[in-house]
Amino acid sequence: MKRILVALLLLTTLVFALACERRGGSAAGSTSGTIVVGYYGDLTGRTSNFGQSTKNGVLMAADEINKAGGINGRQVQIISEDDEGRPEKAATVATKLIDQDRIVALLGEVASGNSLAAAPKAQAAHIPMISPSSTNPAVTQVGDYIFRVCFIDPFQGEVMAKFAFNTLKAKKAAIMLDFNSPYSRGLTDFFEAAFKKFGGQIVNKQSYTQGDRDYKGQLTAIRSDSPDVIYVPGYYGEVGVIAKQAKQLGINVPLLGGDGWDATQLWDLGGDSLNGDFISNHYSVDDPSPSIQKFVADYKGRYDRVPDALAALGYDAMRVLADSIKRAGTTEGPKLRDAIAQTKNFGGVTGTISIDAQRNAIKPAVVLKLQDRKYIYQETIYPEGMRPNTSSAPSNGSDTSSAATQPASKSANP
């Protein structure tokens, strides 16, 4: 009896394996048939707001492409996998997508730590991977098949340092970082370097780890050095609680953050404590430019919520990929890779996307103020050498001076 059971089990495993093999086989590396694209992200874990928003953006872009007749007449199919926000799981699902589903390209992740875990799999298989929103520089350094459509942390860290020093007139900053996250550590280093370069001073630096329950110990230590601003480059789950506990301790200076704050759950956790804080982000939903407003309206109609930056970047990543497949005329790895690398002045929702030699996108960043569950546009900061472009860059009204910093409204709460 036992032997029969074992035999049956082996047989089912074999059938399964064969079935999987056949399913993917037809689509690989050809110029006709359905284009299978893999998406992986955190759909159920600690940063699930990120993964779900990005997936929404990717799916919306794919549907729009299919409705418009597909790419060179071929339909796009997205196969989505959940990595639960864990690096080891990200590597596993990336392997599954590449080996079993025979995807032609990989989209994901948001958190840099997870992208860093999956990228070597894509690189080894010569499958192009586009990260919508991993900002740590190391991600695209994994290899020449790894791209991103967002700015990188040396720029993002500098943006906040510049805003804190120039606009908020802060001289003393404290930092509270997520010790185990490459994203948070990277931003900390770049913020610190830039803030010191401008002439500011870092008075205290504390760390926490994801899943900590209490942050008052660190915040009390920070409070004793009375900084003008506190930089918290973490993810929304912890940041919401940190903001709340900071207010409980009577800390009333603004907290500054990055794109890792942008999630609806941030407000459920932090509530009113977040009012008056500032973040750097990829785009602003208040931007009046028609392409952004159309995207916001379409997204609202489809998902009944305001798209955050991660949804917009997911949307852009899928569209950059589609544009590249169209130009390459094929989904073969090396040719598609070259086409993505040649992306120039692609009109995305999050700004004009040009891929540079390091496979990063060169884009401006916006600074947003948090107030009553809303992100209020403050200013756009451009990377060095990039001129504000009135037609495509986000601008607020007529104020388009040629300076690198473009203030839209003076901060009320320095």
Partner: protein, 305 residues
């Protein structure tokens, strides 16, 4: 000075939560000589029951004192029932076997609860609704104490006094002490030991659930795995105070809370990174087991519940 006082307040706040949970470990150990490893998960269950009660009963929309009291008591009752059910269906059937069997069962129950919650609700943290209008009171200088901290102190002290009263002034408390002294003799004296054990689990679970709801007011992020580390630290607290000893559990909890906060607050000055906060509890556990296995109060006190 005010920084020191502030860190002390911070430490006592989380220490009070550890103490509430440690009481459950120590009571069950006192009676059954069992480390109930599922106890940390009851703390998580308490927080989640509170979360769903708040939404179901419509208290999530705005902070009210009435809502807070109802959610707190409701969560304690439901969790007490869960605790009794765990005892009835998981521990009682294996109670007559070797103690190792029960211990492994406890670990199994813990994993079962955690993964059931992950499977049903997902691992993503949820935001516990605010049931208390938050406010901070300045004591002196910069030292501030928030309403949620006062709530944690107040409710913990109240519950601990209540527990003391139950154990020393009521008939069922006397029975508990008798069972902890010797289970078989107590049975011979006509005490319904099964009922007493059940009651002990109910008490411990209700305290842990209170800890869950109270922490959620202080830190609104709740997730199905939140009970693991907190539960382990509370266990260390029970061992530090002397497992089986009730005042010891409270003392141990407060000490662990303060030690942890001081590592975060002052560790950097002497080269200990803040990420060692979780390690400090286990370092204490090793030291206690090496130098004073009976715990701080364990050797001298006779009554064990």
């Amino acid at each position: 000075m005010d920084t020191f006082v502030q860190q002390l307040i911070n430490g006592l706040t989380i220490g009070a939560i550890y103490a509430l949970i440690a009481l459950g470990y120590t009571m069950v150990y006192g009676i059954l000589r069992l480390i109930n490893f599922a106890h940390g998960d009851i703390y998580m269950v308490g927080a989640f029951v509170g979360y769903f009660l708040a939404f179901q009963l419509g208290f999530a929309s705005g902070p009210t004192l009435f809502g807070l009291v109802i959610v707190l008591i409701g969560s304690m009752i439901v969790s007490a029932i869960v605790g009794m059910a765990i005892e009835r269906f998981a521990y009682r059937p294996v109670r007559r076997y070797a103690r190792m069997t029960t211990l492994i069962t406890a670990i199994g129950v813990s994993l079962l609860i955690e993964n059931l919650f992950v499977a049903r609700l997902g691992a993503a943290p949820r935001a516990f609704p605010q049931l208390l209008q938050e406010r901070s009171y300045t004591l002196f200088g910069n030292a501030a104490i928030s309403k949620s901290q006062l709530l944690i102190f107040g409710v913990s002290v109240l519950l601990m006094l209540l527990l003391q009263w139950i154990i020393f002034k009521t008939k069922i408390g006397t029975a508990m002490r008798a069972v902890s002294f010797n289970l078989n003799s107590a049975k011979l004296m006509g005490i319904n030991t099964d009922a007493i054990i059940s009651f002990t689990f109910a008490l411990g679970s209700a305290l842990a659930a209170a800890g869950g709801v109270l922490t959620a007011q202080y830190n609104p992020q709740i997730d199905p795995l939140m009970g693991i580390i907190t539960g382990l630290k509370a266990f260390v607290a029970a061992v530090l105070g002397g497992i089986g000893n009730i005042p010891g559990a409270v003392l141990g909890g407060l000490l662990i809370g303060i030690a942890e906060t001081f590592v975060v607050g002052y560790g950097q000055n002497v080269g200990v990174p803040t990420t060692f906060r979780d390690a400090v509890a286990f370092a204490i556990l090793i030291l206690v087991l090496l130098f004073r296995p009976t715990g701080l109060l364990g050797a001298t006190v006779q009554e064990k519940v």
